[in-house]
Symmetry: C2
Subunit: 234 residues, 2 copies
């Protein structure tokens, strides 16, 4: 790479960092609109071309997103990249079941502990949001609709109650990967899901730490058996 190109790259990286700083210092949330190219170029004292390059890179990092004709916004992907666990290289058709079970084993290590923490540490507001999400999943299941995304959000809400900021990002990463490898839509399974969710949610809401942990183990065990069953039919 020639020197000029290298310098341009370093400048772009510096501008990316400054834009991230603007987002953080202004407590901007997912969906908030970023200043336009012209304003940013003025503010950061660089060319509009450099701003464009930096924005392009922040989009590829899932930090910003463009809505056609409306402008550039803070992405709701929280800067979590696609395929954060590098599964592209792990999974192949033969190994799908193995990967699904490996992911579930990780959930079994993490989520019961997280549920226990959530029961102790969740704020009133966090627990209210978690209970609401529990209801949303239940309604989707009863209507026979696709509840996978809502389900992941429910587990994320529990993680938020735990107060561990990293877990909050990690749980959706692992759970989305599970739903990539498997599709659990059987009726028996759907019925179990919302009852088990409710048991977890109620234990957390009543501050019953050990109860929440056990209820989560029961729920994940149903998922685990679902995966076994799902693959044995293929």
């Amino acid at each position: 790479m020639d020197e000029k190109k290298e310098t341009g790259k370093l400048l772009t990286r510096a501008v990316e960092k400054k834009i991230i700083k603007i987002i953080k210092e202004n407590y901007m949330q997912p969906g908030d609109k970023l200043k336009n190219e012209y304003e940013l170029a003025e503010l950061l004292n660089v060319s509009r071309g450099t701003i464009r390059e930096a924005i392009k890179s922040l989009i590829s990092r899932n930090i910003l997103e463009v809505r056609q004709g409306a402008g550039t916004f803070v992405s709701n992907k929280n800067g979590v990249p696609e395929d954060p666990l590098g599964l592209t290289f792990i999974s192949d058709i033969k190994e799908d079941k193995k990967v699904a079970l490996d992911l579930l084993d990780i959930r079994l290590m993490l989520e019961p502990e997280i549920a226990a923490l959530a029961a102790v540490k969740g704020t009133t507001k966090q627990i209210k949001t978690m209970l609401e999400q529990c209801k949303i999943v239940e309604e989707l299941i009863k209507k026979g609709e696709d509840y996978r995304e809502a389900d992941i959000l429910f587990h994320k809400r529990i993680a938020q109650c735990s107060g561990n900021r990293v877990i909050e990002n990690l749980i959706p990463i692992i759970n989305s990967s599970v739903s990539l490898t498997i599709n659990l839509t059987e009726d028996v399974f759907r019925q179990n899901t919302y009852k088990e969710h409710r048991a977890v949610a109620e234990a957390i809401a009543s501050g019953d730490s050990l109860g929440a942990k056990c209820a989560m183990i029961v729920h994940l065990n149903t998922n685990r058996r679902g995966i076994e069953k799902n693959f044995s039919k293929k």
Copy 2:
């Protein structure tokens, strides 16, 4: 985006997938050299421009890497992106300690269980590699050199003994993040580290599942206290 651009993008994505397929079907390992642009264009029946675009994207996804003048190779980053946990948005100066402890709490949920699994499931070859890495870390520590990368690799080797392919990628992600937020270089800490590593390694090698789990808890607890101490001095 106009239609032509959109079609080009879809074609590039398809070519990316085909290149990944070539890597997987030929069991190519990190460091293996990819066919050149011309050969790939011929093989996949697309233009060299499309190949170039696809390779550029695979580089940004940490699946491939370019070595100047030598060609394009399979990256040793295993397709794991930078900042997989989206920490850019979580950590700021005030919260560094919180994030470091949050990451360590996740390690405490995962690694003792993984050590226990490793003692039961590790193959002779995996355990040999793990023991060798244990020795490498010990030697670096005794020489007073930087052992952080070697340390992460030791924990990855344990994860490999567990047989869980996803854990194998997840542990380095979490552990690298810890070393980004904190630098533990005190002498007392260094001495403890290699003795504790050895205790974990020996328990795994002798198939002592509960012993390995407990030894890992002890080790991570030292890390946890180190973080507390490190930040209280600032």
